[in-house]
Symmetry: C2
Subunit: 210 residues, 2 copies
């Protein structure tokens, strides 16, 4: 099995490296996908939204057929939704993928590639209204949502939660538990302010604080 | 203010990019440190423990005096504790740092640099016993611990929690709350297995499940 994660200039760092960490723990220690690839349109360094520079493993033209594809978000998605090379790559790979996942504003790239028609999906709380303006998508305010083979997560750090749930779906809860303990993913439940009471808070956060 | 994060071959990806995301959200949007740098012994790509390739911003010799320094973990720390160029860099920068932080097995590098003498510190649950064998460190089983200017976090994902607490300490809870909502860092409290009941579970996790 091959799992590809797409990157592009101004991709948000944690959007893809949170899922990457869970994915590669699964791959390396618990029989997850043999090949995990960072994929970009072209070879050469990619500068992320907050200034981290990463080197993709493979360019679109050399990318093998993927079994799983994840599209992260970041300010660069505002450009990538209008990049036909990107949307074509995502649409064509998606045809033979068992699942396609997005994090944060990566869902806008899935939409531009035609993958959200008639589907439920989500994004960063600050972009929910913008996603609602797009045709044929049913926007939900969950930490992440699965609709058939399409998974989408809320903002930035939500991709980590989604990837653990995805592992549980693919390999069972016991394997997800092993990945969780390997990554010591037992976050503290601290909230530093009362954003959960704000009108702008996503539904899942409001409901959790009720 | 300048915040440096050290990387090295086989550094664990999320160990440094979890904190990096919180740090750079703070820096970019909420008046955190102006300069955030990924620092390595030499210029050129660094291959992380799970295969991600990153390009440091600056090599040790060109690195400015840092106000804050973070040392992540990963299997590469087993080599770096015996690398005098690394331990000297950490020790010398630490002299003028306001705070030095570690994640996961990064605490072994702090110890090798002489920074944990008489201090409380922690590491990944799988390395607690090994840290206890080292002289002069008081090992605690917390998600993260602060002892004066030295902060250390438990494994991999714990660095993200530590960095938010560090931001709250430096800039106040309101700023930490803004970073938290920007990164949508409201993780789900799901546990996929009963590792918290295991003898090997770290103390903070056992206590949370009591």
């Amino acid at each position: 099995m091959t799992f590809g994660i797409v990157v592009f200039d101004q991709v948000e760092e944690l959007d893809f490296i949170g899922p990457w960490e869970m994915l590669t723990m699964w791959s390396k220690y618990f029989k997850g996908p043999e090949q995990c690839l960072i994929v970009a349109q072209r070879a050469g360094p990619v500068t992320c939204a907050k200034g981290l520079s990463v080197n993709p493993h493979v360019a679109f033209e050399q990318c093998p057929a993927l079994d799983f594809l994840l599209v992260p978000g970041g300010s660069g998605t505002r450009r990538e939704v209008d990049n036909p090379v990107m949307t074509r790559f995502v649409a064509e790979q998606a045809r033979h993928c068992r699942a396609v996942l997005s994090v944060c504003t990566g869902s806008f790239v899935l939409q531009a590639a035609g993958l959200l028609a008639g589907r439920r999906a989500t994004t960063h709380w600050g972009s929910l209204a913008r996603l609602r303006e797009l045709p044929e998508v049913t926007v939900v305010e969950e930490r992440f949502v699965r609709d058939g083979p399409i998974w989408s997560a809320a903002g930035v750090s939500a991709g980590t939660d989604m990837m653990l749930a995805f592992i549980a779906d693919q390999a069972g809860a016991a394997v997800a538990g092993q990945v969780q303990s390997a990554a010591e993913y037992y976050p503290l439940p601290i909230r530093y302010d009362d954003f959960d009471k704000s009108a702008r808070a996503p539904g899942y956060l409001k409901r959790a604080s009720d």
